[in-house]
Amino acid sequence: MSDLTHPVTSPAARPGRIRRWFTRPATAPSPAPSPAPAKRVQFDAPLLPWIFLAPQLVVIFVFFYWPSVQAVTSSFYIEDPFGFGATFVGIDNYRDALGSREYQRIAGFTALFTVLVTAFSLGLGLLFAVKADKVIRGRSAYRTALIAVYAIAPPVAGLMGMMLFDQHIGPFVTLAGWFGYEMKVGINYWDTASAMILISVWKQVPYNFIFFLSGLQGIPASVREAAVIDCRGGFTRFRTAILPLLAPTAFFLLIINITYALFDTFAVIDVMVKDKPANNPLTLVYKVYNDGFRGNDIGGSAAQSVILMVIVLVLTLIQFRWLERRVHYG
């Protein structure tokens, strides 16, 4: 190919083709077109890349697409509770779910729960990160203490939370008692909700803390110093010169935290409301589980999980479309 494009630039190439393949005189102008774009790897066999991709594809298919398709299909059927076949019911399952007052109430609580958990987890994570970033003495001890919580498994966190809010030995209940309030977690709806939010936030703060802290430490010291000279007020400086540089981190964490609040708080909620009287706050995910595995309403539960999937999809799309544009990837 290079012979066609540069037929005479390389006199050394002429005498013997074979020799040219093995030796290339260093002084002769290179016969290859030099401004070629970065070389792509080419496979001779068209099947080969698929073989390389196969394990990953299988995993994605088996654990993601297959269940998703299953969920979508079963959401259009009512399944016999004893497993004797299913009846196609169209969008009835969706209509039932969205029309039910209970579902709406739980959806409302889920929204509130998600907003509060996300806001507090991000806010506290950022606050601790900013404070930890300033600590010079005892730095690592402080950080380890904050990060350690992250190592606690969610059900254990839920259990610890239950202990903290226990009717008899829970320090939070005692604390509320001092203010003349009788806290009844597991019985009083809003008491349970508060405890649930508190434990969920507590569990997520370390995660945000780690990311914010590394984000802060990624900001060049000289940029901070330039800002110290340019702006007197610490808070204004943080808001105008530091925070915008944390935006990519914050954006990423926002998505992660919303997903956490919607789905990963399941174990915490489970520990807190299982075997408790019915009037307790639940989130949509917990209801999916309740209806599907406790109530054996596979169709309804599938419809609800499809709705959840759509919600997450829409939220993520909105975030990427709207927020990412305002984020500066310096």
Binding site: I136, P220, S222, V223, E225, A226, A227, V228, I229, D230, C231, R232, G233, T236, T240, A241, P244, L245, A247, H328, G330
Partner: protein
């Protein structure tokens, strides 16, 4: 515009065993361009940062104008700083970068715009005002950093190796630009570099630092011709000054078995360090026996490396001059620097030599 007074300033970093900067005294006149120069780790940045307020002052006092600034916030010291890696705000456009400091000081908007426009004109940044720093070349970023300092119209500019991230050619251009700008604005400047050439060309006065202490202060040529110590002698000037072990015996300087053809030297005898600049050596009929090792061609001149009495020596020669493997070199008596071998301090014996030459011996 203001003078800067640094008195008895020292700095010990928390946890550090020794002071990084000790007992610095320096009076910087209004409008003066001072360059702090010295090898890596000698405390240049530390001193500059104490003036900026980015580093706490462990001892002594820094005044800008008539105000002691030890306890004053960096933003209130009326200084602007240019950093080595530019330190531009990545999320702000060039315009916003320059305006940021003014906006925070509640400068009226039309005034900000006027100053930014003026700085952009001076630094030829007009076409880039709406770009983000990441879309600029290194040289352009450096100019934005300069612009950010200029728009502030501060009492003093502080530069911490602002050119060391640029390539050699651009560095020379920017060097000229900084000097021109400073002359025009007449703003007191404190400039840190480890590049002695940059230091020589920019400074009204040079401050040579070594191990956290001032080794010598003076105009570039004054320091070049009268280095106060072997440290300064070897640091300022390129190629570095030749430093040779010699002896003074009975008023005569001898290098190995050769006696230097100078007038008698009084006030010292025993071993000394002899300093001779490469350009002060000339081939002659008689003098130091020199053996050539190799030659570096620089175009306008050539550097001839060799040795005298087993000690390395460099001399500069006109390329038109003939080269020999063995030469005899002579040096003017007034161009010989004598330093104490143990302390490295300059011994002012040469002047006595010159006076001695006028006396009937």
């Amino acid at each position: 515009m203001a003078s800067i007074t640094i008195s008895n300033v020292s700095k010990t970093y928390p946890g550090a065993k020794a002071a990084s900067v000790s007992d610095i005294n320096l009076d910087i006149r209004d409008g003066e361009f001072i360059v702090l120069v010295g090898p890596s780790g000698c405390g240049k940045s530390t001193l500059l940062r104490m003036v900026a307020g980015l580093e706490e002052i462990s001892g002594g006092e820094v005044s800008i104008g008539s105000r002691v600034v030890n306890q004053i916030d960096p933003a209130d010291r009326d200084i602007a700083m240019v950093f080595q890696n530019y330190a531009l705000y990545p999320h702000m456009s060039v315009r916003e970068n320059m305006a940021y400091g003014l906006k925070n000081r509640r400068t009226p908007k039309p005034e900000i715009e006027a100053r930014v426009a003026e700085a952009a004109r001076m630094l030829e940044l007009g076409p880039y005002l709406d770009r983000k720093p990441r879309a600029l070349s290194g040289g352009q970023r450096q100019r934005v950093a300069m612009g950010r300092a200029v728009v502030r119209q501060p009492a003093a500019f502080l530069f911490d190796e602002p050119l060391s991230n640029l390539d050699a050619k651009l560095r020379v251009t920017m060097r000229g630009e900084i000097r021109r700008l400073q002359k025009r604005l007449g703003t007191t400047s404190l400039y840190v570099t480890h590049d002695q050439l940059e230091a020589m060309t920019l400074a009204d006065r040079l401050v040579v630092l070594n191990g956290g202490r001032i080794e010598q202060v003076g105009a570039p040529l004054e320091i070049y011709h009268n280095p106060a110590s072997t440290f300064v002698a070897s640091f300022i000037g390129s190629p570095a000054m030749n430093l040779l072990d010699a002896r003074i015996e009975g008023g005569r300087i001898s290098l190995g078995s050769t006696q230097l053809d100078t007038s008698p030297v009084y006030g010292h005898s025993g071993p000394v360090t002899l300093g001779i600049r490469a350009e002060d050596l000339t081939p002659a009929a008689a003098g130091l026996p020199f053996r050539t090792d190799f030659v570096e061609e620089l175009g306008a001149q050539r550097l001839v490396h060799g040795h005298v009495d087993g000690q390395p020596l460099v001399l500069t020669l006109d390329p038109a001059m003939p080269l020999h493997d063995e030469m005899r070199l002579s040096v003017a008596a007034a161009r010989v620097h004598i330093f104490d071998t143990t302390s490295g301090k300059r011994l002012d014996l040469v002047r006595q030599t010159r006076q001695a030459a006028h006396q009937p011996a």
